[in-house]
């Protein structure tokens, strides 16, 4: 690892002031530290945001669940409030990586990183989330731009993620047996007027599968998507799964999610 300067910011303002083109925020460090160790990324400055009090914590209202950006996966997994309001969200957090990762990794870091096989982005899409930053509010559908790409500007800090509580929901992940990231994960949430089918792992970026969402809006039953033949031409293919297999998994996991709702 190359040398770098470590800063601990006391508030969002200081954090974004310290940010530059050669910096990264340090939340859980679960992505940043390994990539620095492997020489895949080098930063001049690491700006630790874990000590910014405002960024941690969970708030539940009648309509939404708001999670501070620096809240750890383990906290979401164990939160009674989240379990009650959106049980699928706490079980998603419980299924991320391993205990070490869950004890450090954060929701803000996860969605800022926007790994194509990360779990949280699918929750954001499915649960009509709003991303609160120190500058603005961004709708989830406009936040995830592409592989490891988001709408965040340099120095823009995620402060919290606000999820809309659905009628029912379920997240079904087919994990990569090695890393436990999603080979394919499907998050289905049913609201009064519509259904979201958020898919992660299958393509270069999380997406809402409109075709399945439409079918399920008509009839919220796994039979309405059974046997759907998805186009796999733009799906990921790697040593863990071919595009064809991923396409099939999307339908299978979606069916499981509907059945589990």
């Amino acid at each position: 690892m190359k040398e770098f300067n470590y800063h601990s910011a006391k508030d969002s303002k200081e954090a974004s002031k310290l940010a530059s083109s050669g910096s990264a925020f340090l939340a859980g460090g679960m992505t940043t530290i390994p990539s620095m160790k492997l020489g895949l990324a080098t930063y001049k400055d690491l700006i630790d945001i874990k000590n910014i009090k405002k960024l941690s914590g969970i708030k539940v209202s009648g309509k939404s669940v708001t999670i501070g950006a620096a809240t750890k996966h383990v906290e979401v997994a164990n939160s009674k409030d989240v379990k009650k309001a959106i049980p699928s969200l706490s079980s998603l957090a419980e299924g991320i990586g391993d205990p070490q990762v869950r004890n450090r990794g954060t929701i803000g870091g996860s969605i800022a990183n926007n790994d194509p096989s990360a779990d949280y982005p699918s929750a954001c899409i499915a649960l009509n989330a709003t991303i609160h930053t120190n500058q603005r509010k961004i709708e989830a559908s406009k936040f995830f731009k592409g592989m490891f790409e988001t709408a965040l500007k340099k120095g823009e800090l995620i402060e919290a993620v606000e999820f809309q509580i659905p009628e029912k929901s379920s997240y079904q992940k087919h994990p990569n047996p090695a890393s436990r990231y999603a080979v394919v994960g499907v998050y289905i949430a049913k609201y009064k007027s519509d259904v979201n089918v958020a898919v992660t792992g299958a393509k270069s970026c999380v997406y809402n599968d409109k075709e399945m969402a439409k079918a399920l809006s008509g009839n919220f039953s796994s039979s309405s998507i059974d046997g759907m033949d998805l186009d796999s031409s733009d799906m990921n293919s790697d040593i863990h799964a071919s595009a064809e297999y991923r396409a099939s998994l999307v339908v299978t996991q979606a069916k499981k999610a509907v059945d589990a709702c």
């Binding site: 690892m1 040398e3 492997l38 087919h174 990569n176 047996p177 090695a178 890393s179 990231y181 040593i239 863990h240 799964a241 071919s242 297999y245 099939s248 998994l249 299978t252 996991q253 069916k255």
Partner: protein
């Protein structure tokens, strides 16, 4: 006194391990030490056109940068293959030179070309990036199956072929096949694995200019052997000026048998710079440069009668050696593989032919089970297939072909001294509720799942390697083991063993044995291993040999102690030595019932003569002191055996395989410590199931390792396993006084075919290669659906 052998004595080593007090190589820091980083080839195959170290030398904190040129100038030797194998046509095997730092050519990604030594690790890393190597990249050979058709990797080694070896009789096999009603044939890939010891390799080399001695602390399973090789072949220092210490070692599984490039280079360089050097592998270096395991491509056939009697067997295997032949690289796919190829069965005619090939991949060598898992996988997959094709129950078919009388002389090599395979099978079936499977299968079916059951009966030859047995095969190296038992004057005992514990609990089990033999409380016995300056030369730990060979050496040394004790007691108590009996730590004169404790005898041996009584207790001809040594070379291998049964449930929609039940019923002979044996079985099963369902080392066609981290290489985890159902049958080995056989590798040997047989059973006989990943199984499920709907 109750016997300790056979009881669940708590592990003496746990206190230090569980409280973080273990002392591993990376924990060792010497005064004024430097830090090393190795510059490694990023290419699988290339020639080195130019290597420029000028910038690196000028980098901050750099002490020295050494390359293949200096290695050659100093006539430092290379790494070696420990076992000479002769081809079927009588020619000797062909091995390329393997200098510890490559000078002209690199042959796998990770092959080291330079060592950078600096005042700090960060400075060494920084400088290593400044070593400029100009490579001419050449086409890599990576496929095992195609290696013989690839470009020649090592000059003069035609077809990349190290040897083409035969064990058995082709003519007899042909005759057997001519008589057969049916021939079952199978094509198998035994997937390449990366051992992944929890502790990465490391070494700390020190030079004492006053004594001209090099001390190497290293992660080794066999420090004495390492010293011998480094001295005799590496030319690092004469043996008496080289001390090798393997302190606590965090797992080896065979990957730490080898002397590695870093051991030789750091030792040599420490003398050159006259300072200590520390090197600790990063995990990614472990993936790239630790020896890998398995990697066979096999075609095998079994000739059978229609009622299921096995008549003949042939096995044609291509074994990947990787870029170079290393210490056990050549013996693993031959003498550790071929003799076990026919499995537990009585097959009158058989041969095994192995072509060992070089490729531009990490060297392949002994990994837990070494050769025997590959052999067992082949025969057990074949037998399972035979049971399907013949329509004979898989357990009945096996029983039908078990030997019934022991000693059992196998067709190929081994004479198995003892066993009761039918008893093992019956007990395993009961433990696994084999009868109830059909009900469970229907329950799974009702849930839309596919359920399969798989069986493996295995035997293995371990306790490697009795000189008499291997020499008779034309194999150049025999292995024995040493032990030295030393009493202190005040009665505590230190046992020095030539074997090494890196997870095997010798500190406990060996002490149990010595405690029983000597009647000394276990607290008063220390087991010392892992230091060439302590105890006599020993061969180390691998091939489930520590107990069956090393343990017997301890027994024999203890027996010598007792013999001397009897003579001394006789003299002290004025009796005949023949009248002295030894029991529970006491020497008793049978006629007079007078006695001496072993502690009193030890004291007397060291301090002969008591005040006012100037008579020596030592009989004429006996020297003072109480210390005995034994070098034990067994007459034969030992042959653990057993039957394992697995049940899996498959989700046809995702292809996910869930291992529902796993039953292991093993015959390890006498068991010294059941708790320790359970640990060994669990670990072996985890690795064997890992091979079947999860682990796979994959290179792309340019020779880059695609699975070079835990993000891509699937290590099995606790939640991948059911509660293991473990049981034993017991027939004592007749070839050693303890009746022990060995248990370290059984799980890794039996589990792959057991699990795969279950998976393939669930898939209606469709072949799937290991690891049976969800996608492969999903594809098979789709085919199954297609063929089922056709049939309907």
């Amino acid at each position: 006194m109750a016997s300790l052998v056979g009881s669940r004595v708590e592990r003496k080593e746990d206190k230090r391990f569980l409280t973080g007090k273990g002392r591993y190589t990376a924990d060792i820091n010497l005064a004024n030490q430097t830090y090393a980083i190795f510059v490694r080839s990023p290419h699988a195959r290339a020639s080195i056109k130019k290597l420029n170290i000028d910038k690196a030398l000028k980098s901050s904190g750099v002490v020295s940068v050494l390359t293949g040129k200096e290695v050659a100038d100093d006539k430092i030797g290379g790494l070696i293959a420990g076992w000479a194998i002769r081809s079927e046509d009588g020619t000797e095997m062909k091995c390329p030179g393997n200098p510890p730092l490559a000078k002209d050519n690199v042959n796998f990604v990770g092959d080291p070309v330079a060592i950078v030594i600096a005042e700090s690790l960060a400075e060494a890393k920084e400088a290593a990036e400044k070593v400029e190597v100009d490579y001419k990249v050449l086409k890599a050979v990576t496929s095992t199956a195609e290696a013989m058709n690839g470009d020649t990797i090592h000059e003069g080694i035609d077809k990349n072929l190290c040897f083409d070896w035969l064990l058995g009789d082709r003519q007899k096999v042909k005759e057997a096949f001519d008589k057969a009603d049916k021939v079952i044939s199978i094509d198998i890939i035994n997937n390449r694995l990366i051992p992944n010891a929890m502790e990465p390799r490391a070494c700390v080399a020190d030079y004492n200019a006053a004594s001209e001695e090099i001390t190497l602390y290293t992660t080794s399973q066999n420090p004495h052997l390492s010293r011998l090789i480094m001295s005799a072949f590496g030319n690092v220092a004469p043996e008496h000026k080289l001390r090798v210490v393997a302190p606590d070692v965090g797992g080896g599984f065979g990957s730490k048998i080898n002397v590695y490039n870093e051991d030789i280079v750091c030792s040599w360089a420490a003398k050159k710079i006259n300072r200590a050097i520390k090197w600790v592998a990063e995990r990614s270096e472990s993936f790239l440069t630790d020896i890998h395991g398995r990697d066979h491509v096999t075609h095998a056939e079994l000739a059978v009668t229609k009622d299921g009697k096995f008549l003949g067997f042939k096995n044609e295997t291509i074994a990947n050696l990787g870029a170079y032949a290393r210490v056990f690289g050549t013996v693993t796919p031959t003498y550790l593989f071929g003799p076990c190829a026919t499995g537990v069965y009585d097959i009158p005619a058989a041969y095994t032919n192995v072509k060992a090939v070089y490729t531009n991949t990490a060297p392949v060598d002994a990994y837990r089970g070494a050769g025997r898992p590959e052999a067992t996988y082949t025969i057990e997959r074949l037998v399972e297939k035979a049971s399907m094709e013949l329509g004979i129950d898989k357990t009945e078919l096996r029983i039908k072909n078990f030997p019934t009388a022991f000693p059992f002389k196998q067709t190929l090599v081994h004479t198995v001294d003892s066993g009761d395979y039918v008893a093992g099978m019956e007990k395993a079936k009961q433990m696994a509720d084999y009868k109830g499977f059909e009900t469970r299968r229907r329950e799974s079916e009702a849930k839309g799942k596919l359920r399969g059951i798989g069986v493996t009966s295995y035997f293995e030859a371990c306790g490697i390697a009795p000189s008499a047995a291997v020499m008779s095969l034309g194999c150049g190296v025999g292995l024995w083991e040493s032990a030295e038992v030393r009493f202190n004057p005040t009665g505590q005992v230190t046992v020095y063993t030539g074997s090494h514990s890196h997870g095997q609990s010798h500190q406990t089990t060996f002490a149990q044995i010595a405690a029983d033999e000597l009647g000394v409380p276990i607290e008063n016995i220390d087991i010392v291993h892992g230091d060439t300056d302590k105890g006599t030369f020993g061969m180390g730990t691998y091939g489930s040999r520590s107990l069956a060979v090393g343990g017997i050496a301890i027994v024999n040394a203890c027996k010598k102690i007792v013999e001397k004790g009897k003579r001394v007691t006789a003299k002290m108590l004025e009796a005949n030595p023949e009248d002295v009996e030894f029991k529970d730590g006491e020497f008793i004169v049978s006629k007079s019932n007078k006695k001496k404790t072993i502690g009193e005898v030890a004291f007397a041996c060291y301090l002969p003569g008591v005040r006012d009584e100037m008579k020596s207790p030592l009989p004429e001809g006996d020297e003072p002191g109480l210390k005995e040594t034994s070098f034990y070379d067994p007459s034969n291998f030992s042959f653990p055996a057993g039957t394992h049964i697995a049940e899996v449930e498959i989700d046809p929609e995702t292809g996910h395989v869930k291992l529902e039940k796993y039953t292991a019923c093993d015959d390890f002979g006498r068991i010294i410590n059941p708790m320790v044996v359970e640990g060994q079985v669990h670990g072996g099963l985890a690795q064997g199931i890992g091979q079947a369902l999860y682990e796979n080392a994959e290179y792309d066609e340019t020779g880059q390792l695609m699975t070079g981290s835990y993000m891509d290489y699937t290590m099995p985890r606790a939640d991948n396993f059911p509660e293991f159902n473990i049981g034993y049958t017991c027939t004592h080995a007749t070839t050693n006084p303890l009746g022990v056989k060995g248990c370290g590798e059984a799980g890794a040997i039996a589990a792959p075919p057991t699990v795969m047989n279950a998976v393939i059973d669930a898939l209606g006989g469709q072949e799937v290669t290991m690891p049976a990943t969800a996608e492969k199984v999903w594809k098979a499920c789709k085919n199954l659906k297609k063929s089922n709907s056709k049939a309907a």
